[in-house]
Each structure stands twice: as structure tokens, then as C-alpha cells.
């Protein structure tokens, strides 16, 4: 199947999904470890330059960084949830529904049993949603998108019904929200935090920027946040370094190959989707327990989808996904801190980044895409030049527009798991 695909596949359709973009360059390598520091460095420089030019200090303030982190964590966790499922070949657009289950069960259990029990319950609640998705998609072979949509309908319904059952009548509770709960503890790194924060106040080029960002990350941070961040390397190690992870990924790349070597594909898909639900549930619990201190209807606000966007942005890899979550969280945070000016200032940085990207495309002789990028860059810079503020409504669209841009401009560099979204049935290999 694998090798024949290229011969028998009818060309001229080009509609097979994100990975099927026209492969102009044979070299379709993933971003290597060496480019990560480069990307971080370039980003930092761009931000510093932008701050100095525009005077929008909140671009790199500790407050923005702290807010960005808080806003990025649920996106990050949702992205990891998507990663686990899709690496095993199951598309999970039901993340949103699973997150809702996580927000509710987290808050409910935290009410009487404390925040940590709540976090655990959130994970379990989401995992239950994952189990449902697995039953539908793996056992019954239902289309993954269809099942995901159904879960997104079911999750909020269940949460609403259960709220009516258990929250109404308690103080501050009702059909749409829970009473207040206690939050999990936070930490501030002594010494480091205050040092960085004082450095930040000088507004030195580069130094203060970095200090501000780092300072924000080590001040008043929740332990759950730390846990979430650690889940990124954890996922990487488990998925890429262990036999378990190799088997799981093989189910997403070519389940029939895995099957022929005795891997129980159903089992691994089940485990992956349940874990995926667990991550989504944790993302939900973070929202109801850390980002706020009660469950509220619509608390997830589409973050499940932003998580998916971050995962695609990160090319189905944990590191890239974390970068995407960081970016989207940052865009969210700026909006809270001097929103309209900060985001407007960010336009300059974004425009410059696009210029760099277009240049690199031209250097690699991808003139068509490079041209599109250049035109976009000019558009963004013109927008910066001729406006003073960006309406807050448009800032909320950042993750979605970014994802569309990434898919449009870089689709041939994206590499989703080969059998992602395909319904697998045991013993039907050819």
C-alpha cells in the first residue's frame, strides 16, 4: 500500500488533506533541534525591536508573560491532547467537549475534596469523554469528525444537566456555574523573581525584555502550571523514546504494518484516545480551578479548537505545539494588557517576521509562496502604519488566522501522521 500509493494515486486531486500540498521541494524536513534556539533568538530580537520602536512596554512585561503563561497552559494541554490522539491516528475534534467535562468534574470534586482531588477528577472526566470517542471511532468505526462533533454536543449537555442537579441550591451555584472552590497552591522562585523584576524596570534593550518575560514565568505560578509544562517533555519522551510510544505512533502512521508485527492496534488507539481525553480534562480543570475558581458554562471558549490549531502549527510535535500554544496565549494576554496598543505594536513585529519568512522562501526559490508571504507582509506593515489601534475583536481571532496562514503558506512542510483520521479495521489490510 505504501509504495503503490505514489503510483496508483490519481494526481490532480490535491485534496487529500493538509499533508498533500504540492511538494515543490523534495526536502521536507522537520524543524531540527538546532533551529529552536535560532527561532527563540529571532523572536526575542523582533519583540525587543518592536518594543523599542513602538514604546509598547507591555509587549515584554512580566505581567504580560505571566498572563500569557496562564492563558497558554489550557491551549498547551488541549494541543497535547490532540497530539496523543492524532499520533495514534484518531482525529479528536471532540476536545472541546472533553474539556467541558474536565471543567465541570474538576470543580465539582474540588468543592468537597479540595483542589488536588479536583484536578484528578478533571483528568478522569475528560478521560471518560475520550473513552466514548474511542468506543465510537475505534470499536464501531464511526467517522472521527462525526464522533467528535457528537461529543462536543454531549459534553456541555452533560455538564449543564449535572450542574442543574448538584450546583443549584448551593451558595453561588446554579445551572450555569458552580460555587467557588479553593485553588491549587502557587509558588514564586525566591530571589530570582525579584531580581528579574527589578531588571525589567530599566527598559534596557534586550536585557529587560528577557528579564521581564522570565520574571513573569517565575512569579506566582501555579503548581498545576508547572505540571502542565512538564507534560511537554514527558509526552515527547513517552511518544518518541519508549517502545510504547513507537507502537502508538505506528498506529497513526500505518496501522496495518503495526498489526502485521503483532501490535494490538485497537488497544493502543484506545489508550491514546483515553490519554487524549485525560489531557483535555486537565486543560478543563485548569480553567475552572487555576485560571478561575469556579466552573462556569462556556468556560472553555473554543480553547479545544485553539489547541488543535496549536498542534497543527507545531506540525504534530510537542515542541512546536508548545511554541504555538505560547504564541496564542501571548496574543491573548496582550489583549488584557493595554490591549489595543500592544496588539497594534505587535503588528510591526508580525510584519517583520513575515518579511523574514518571505525572504527565506525566496532564498529557497519558492517564489509563488514567497510572493504571497511578501504581499501579506506589506499588508500587515501598511495596516500598522495607517491605523492606531486594533479592535479587540480582531485580536481574539489571532490563533485562527495564524493557523490558516500556516496551513496556507507552509502546508508542504507540515506532516500529519499518515493514517490520521482513517478508520482502521483489523484484518482488512491488502
Amino acid at each position: 500500500m505504501a509504495q503503490l500509493g505514489s503510483l496508483t494515486e490519481v494526481s490532480g486531486t490535491g485534496t487529500a488533506g493538509p499533508a498533500a500540498g504540492p511538494a515543490a521541494t523534495p526536502a521536507r524536513r522537520r524543524v531540527g533541534w538546532r533551529t529552536v534556539p535560532l527561532v527563540v533568538f529571532v523572536t526575542a530580537v523582533l519583540l525587543s525591536v518592536t518594543r523599542v520602536i513602538t514604546g509598547a512596554n507591555d509587549l515584554t512585561s512580566s505581567g504580560s508573560a505571566g498572563a500569557a503563561l496562564r492563558l497558554a497552559v489550557p491551549i498547551l494541554l488541549a494541543g497535547l491532547a490532540g497530539l496523543w490522539a492524532e499520533r495514534a491516528g484518531v482525529v479528536n475534534i471532540g476536545l472541546e467537549g472533553m474539556m467541558v467535562l474536565g471543567t465541570w468534574s474538576g470543580a465539582y470534586v474540588a468543592l468537597d475534596h479540595g483542589p488536588w482531588a479536583g484536578v484528578l477528577a478533571g483528568i478522569l472526566g475528560g478521560a471518560l469523554g475520550g473513552l466514548l470517542h474511542a468506543v465510537a471511532t475505534v470499536t464501531f468505526g464511526v467517522d472521527h469528525i462525526v464522533s467528535g462533533v457528537a461529543l462536543n454536543l454531549l459534553g456541555p449537555g452533560v455538564a449543564r444537566f449535572l450542574s442543574a442537579l448538584v450546583f443549584t441550591g448551593r451558595q453561588g451555584g446554579g445551572v450555569t456555574q458552580s460555587p467557588q472552590v479553593r485553588q491549587p497552591p502557587t509558588f514564586t522562585v525566591p530571589g530570582l523573581s525579584s531580581g528579574l523584576l527589578s531588571l525589567e524596570k530599566h527598559h534596557w534593550f534586550g536585557v529587560s525584555d528577557v528579564a521581564g518575560i522570565l520574571g513573569g514565568l517565575v512569579t506566582g505560578t501555579s503548581w498545576v502550571t508547572l505540571m502542565a509544562l512538564l507534560l511537554v517533555p514527558f509526552s515527547f519522551v513517552v511518544l518518541w523514546w519508549t517502545p510504547f510510544g513507537l507502537r502508538l505512533r505506528s498506529c497513526g502512521e500505518n496501522p496495518y504494518a503495526a498489526e502485521s508485527l503483532g501490535v494490538n492496534v485497537y488497544l493502543y488507539k484506545y489508550l491514546a484516545v483515553i490519554c487524549s481525553g485525560g489531557f483535555a480534562g486537565l486543560a478543563g480543570a485548569f480553567l475552572s480551578l487555576v485560571a478561575s475558581n469556579y466552573y462556569r458554562e462556556d468556560q472553555t471558549g473554543g480553547r479545544g479548537f485553539i489547541g488543535l490549531a496549536a498542534m497543527i502549527f507545531g506540525n504534530w510535535r510537542p515542541g512546536g505545539l508548545a511554541a504555538g500554544a505560547g504564541l496564542f496565549g501571548y496574543a491573548d494576554a496582550l489583549q488584557l494588557r493595554q490591549g489595543e496598543t500592544s496588539v497594534h505594536a505587535l503588528l510591526l513585529g508580525f510584519g517583520l517576521a513575515l518579511v523574514l519568512f518571505a525572504g527565506s522562501l525566496f532564498a529557497r526559490r519558492q517564489r509563488a509562496v514567497g510572493g504571497v508571504a511578501a504581499v501579506l507582509a506589506l499588508g500587515v506593515l501598511a495596516l500598522y502604519q495607517f491605523t492606531d489601534t486594533i479592535p479587540q475583536q480582531f485580536t481574539t481571532a489571532t490563533p485562527y488566522v495564524t493557523t490558516l496562514l500556516v496551513l496556507t503558506l507552509a502546508s508542504q512542510r507540515l506532516r500529519m501522521p499518515a493514517a490520521d483520521g482513517h478508520v482502521y479495521r483489523k484484518g482488512t489490510a491488502r
Binding site: V135, V146, V149, L153, G157, F161, F394
Partner: protein, 378 residues
């Protein structure tokens, strides 16, 4: 699968109805258990809902609601028939309704023309918004699932921006709303059971007829369905798949553009903060439940409307009416599973029936172990 074109074969019809009925029974049973656990009487709850939901006033409400649901489900179904997932109906109809409201309030025209213009604007805006996903898919191979989801949110942002006093809206108390569409641009209601239902229901029904005719009887519809069933086969048969993707996306978006109009032209006459959202996702559920069949989808829309309306009675009996939202979710999940199971059963049954009818004349008699090997070759 071949729902639209299957002949009236009692066996097939039985199979087609088995899945939704099984799903309905399953979810009712599950709800009964949940109600019992929560200490309520299922018989009372469902009895009350049936009583309340069939009262004239409720029926009018149900029909009103189902008009939008029906259009939304048809928009989704057009994509489904072609194996395209238009998850973006939600964004498309909100963009369309917003633009239609703004344009409709800004012009003055004779009655029919005015309504026609509003409908035209809605259809065009919906189609264009969906068309973005179509173009991205055709030119850059971007999955329409992801792009339509993203476009939902982008559309939501644009609508929110348009709905600010600085742009198109006015403040009314603590509601923000566009200016009202004058009477010439409104669609009068139809008297029914002592109330009035949206006049737009007629247009929704016409769209349903058009969908049925287009897919089942035209060449275009055949091409569309063929592409959905097997893209390589469609290509070999001469279907220009890229053009097909784009046109069905535009078509789906155009129908999606109509989703908000029953409400806009029949009741609210303006787009405001409380304009109904989420009908696009409901449409996906209804299209799944109605199996993309124009009549099935109509029945599913009415069922959905019934559940939406009749649950209001439950609160009076101290039963949380939210039980209905779970029921809706369960129905969808159960029905997709049931359809898949039924499909497998049907395929196996048909093979057996064909083999049985052919008896010894079948492939078995011709000496070689052909069929087995051919399965392996395939």
C-alpha cells in the same frame, strides 16, 4: 448510503429506519435511567413533554425553530454527500445574517425586491465565507475541517466587531443591535393553529425540494455524490474534482447563509447580541440523524425543535430541563454508531442475499478460487 436513489424496497427502508429508531430508543432508555437515579419519574417527564409539545402554541414554536435547523442541516448535508465536512455553517450563517441585516436596514425597496435583495446578500456572503475554505482546499490542500473551524471563529470576531456602536450597531438598553429592517424587507408570518409561523418556512421547504432534486436527479448531483462515494472513480468518470469541491463548498455556504433568515426576517428584524448562535453545529447533528435525506432531515429538525421546546415544562415539575441536552447528544452519538452497525449488517446481508439468489450459478461454480484471490488482489 444510496439513500436518495434506492428503490422502494421494504427491506432497505426497514434498515434505514432501524438505526434512528434504535438510537432514539436507546437515548430514551438512558434518560429514563438517569432520571430514575436523580429521583424523578421518567413516565411523568416524557408524558409531560409529549403533552406540552403538542399544544398549538408549542407546535408553532417548534416549526419556527426547525426552519433554521432544517436549512443548517441541508447546508451540512450538501458537504457530507461529497465527503466534505463543512463544520463552518455556524460562522457562515452568522456572517451572512449580520451582513443581510445591515444591508436590509440600509436600503428601501419595494417589498418583494427588498426581501429578495436580503436573501441574495445572505446567500452570497455565506457562499463566499465557505468559499475561502474551498479555495484553500483546492489550491493548497488545506483540510476543510480545520479551515472551516478556524473560519467560524474568525467570522465570529468579525461579527462581534460589526456589532459595536462604532461600526454598524446601536445601543438599546443593555442590548446592542443593528438597525431594524423596515417592513418592506420583512417576511410575513403564516397563520397556523391560532398562531403564526415564520413565512420563511416555505422557502426552507423549497430549498429542501431543490436539494432533493439536485442531488437525486441532476447530472451535477450525480457528480457530487460520485465524488463523495469514491474520488478516484469520480475522476476516472470525468468529474473535475477541484471544481466540484469549490462548487459544493459554495453551494453549502449559500444555503448556510439562509440559516439565520427565518429569525431575522420573521421575528427580530435586526442582528443583536442575542441572535441565536450555534445553529450550525445543531445542523451537523440533524444532518447525521436525518442521514442527509431531505425528508429524514426534516423529521430530525422537527424532533430537535420538539425537544428544545417541550423541555420547558420540566422545570415546572422540578425536573432539570437540561436532561434534554444530554438526550440530544446521546441521540447523535448513538445514531452514528447505529448507522455504522446497520451499514455493515446491510452490506453483509446483501452479499449473502445475492449469493443465495444466484445459487450455484454464482462465482463458486466457475471452478477457480477466483473471488478469494480477487479480494486479495484488490
Amino acid at each position: 448510503m444510496a439513500g436518495l436513489t434506492a428503490r422502494l424496497d421494504p427491506w432497505r427502508i426497514g434498515l434505514a429506519l432501524a438505526a434512528p429508531l434504535a438510537a432514539l430508543v436507546f437515548s430514551v432508555a438512558l434518560m429514563s435511567v438517569v432520571l430514575l437515579i436523580a429521583g424523578h419519574s421518567p413516565a411523568l417527564a416524557f408524558g409531560q413533554m409529549a403533552d406540552f409539545g403538542t399544544q398549538p402554541g408549542s407546535v408553532v414554536q417548534i416549526l419556527d425553530k426547525s426552519a433554521g435547523y432544517y436549512l443548517s442541516a441541508l447546508a451540512v448535508a450538501i458537504g457530507f454527500r461529497m465527503n466534505l465536512f463543512n463544520i463552518g455553517v455556524d460562522g457562515q450563517y452568522r456572517m451572512a445574517a449580520m451582513c443581510a441585516a445591515v444591508v436590509g436596514a440600509a436600503v428601501t425597496l419595494p417589498p418583494v425586491l427588498h426581501v429578495g435583495l436580503i436573501i441574495l446578500v445572505a446567500v452570497v456572503v455565506g457562499a463566499l465565507w465557505a468559499g475561502i475554505a474551498g479555495v484553500l482546499k483546492v489550491t493548497r490542500g488545506v483540510s476543510e475541517v480545520i479551515s472551516t473551524i478556524m473560519l467560524n471563529f474568525v467570522g465570529g470576531s468579525i461579527v462581534a466587531w460589526m456589532l459595536t456602536p462604532e461600526v454598524f450597531a446601536v445601543l438599546q438598553g443593555n442590548n446592542v443591535t443593528t438597525r431594524p429592517i423596515p417592513a418592506s424587507g420583512q417576511v410575513p408570518g403564516i397563520p397556523f393553529l391560532g398562531g403564526t409561523v415564520y413565512g420563511f418556512i416555505v422557502i426552507a421547504a423549497l430549498v429542501g425540494v431543490g436539494y432533493w432534486f439536485l442531488l437525486g436527479y441532476t447530472r451535477f448531483g450525480f457528480d457530487l455524490r460520485a465524488t463523495g462515494l469514491s474520488e478516484p472513480a469520480a475522476v476516472a468518470s470525468g468529474v473535475a474534482v477541484r471544481r466540484m469541491v469549490l462548487s459544493s463548498m459554495l453551494l453549502s455556504g449559500g444555503v448556510a447563509g439562509l440559516v439565520g433568515l427565518p429569525q431575522l426576517l420573521g421575528a427580530s428584524y435586526a442582528y443583536s447580541l442575542d441572535f441565536p448562535a450555534g445553529i450550525g453545529f445543531t445542523g451537523i447533528a440533524i444532518a447525521l440523524l436525518g442521514r442527509n435525506h431531505p425528508i429524514g432531515v426534516a423529521l430530525a429538525s422537527v424532533l430537535w425543535g420538539f425537544l428544545d421546546v417541550s423541555n420547558q415544562i420540566l422545570d415546572l415539575n422540578d425536573i432539570p430541563k437540561e436532561i434534554v441536552t444530554i438526550m440530544q447528544g446521546t441521540i447523535v452519538l448513538a445514531v452514528v454508531i447505529a448507522y455504522e452497525v446497520v451499514r455493515r449488517v446491510a452490506v453483509a446481508q446483501e452479499r449473502r442475499r445475492v449469493a443465495a439468489r444466484l445459487g450455484d450459478d454464482g462465482p463458486a461454480g466457475s471452478g477457480g478460487p477466483g473471488p478469494v484471490e480477487s479480494a486479495a488482489v484488490a
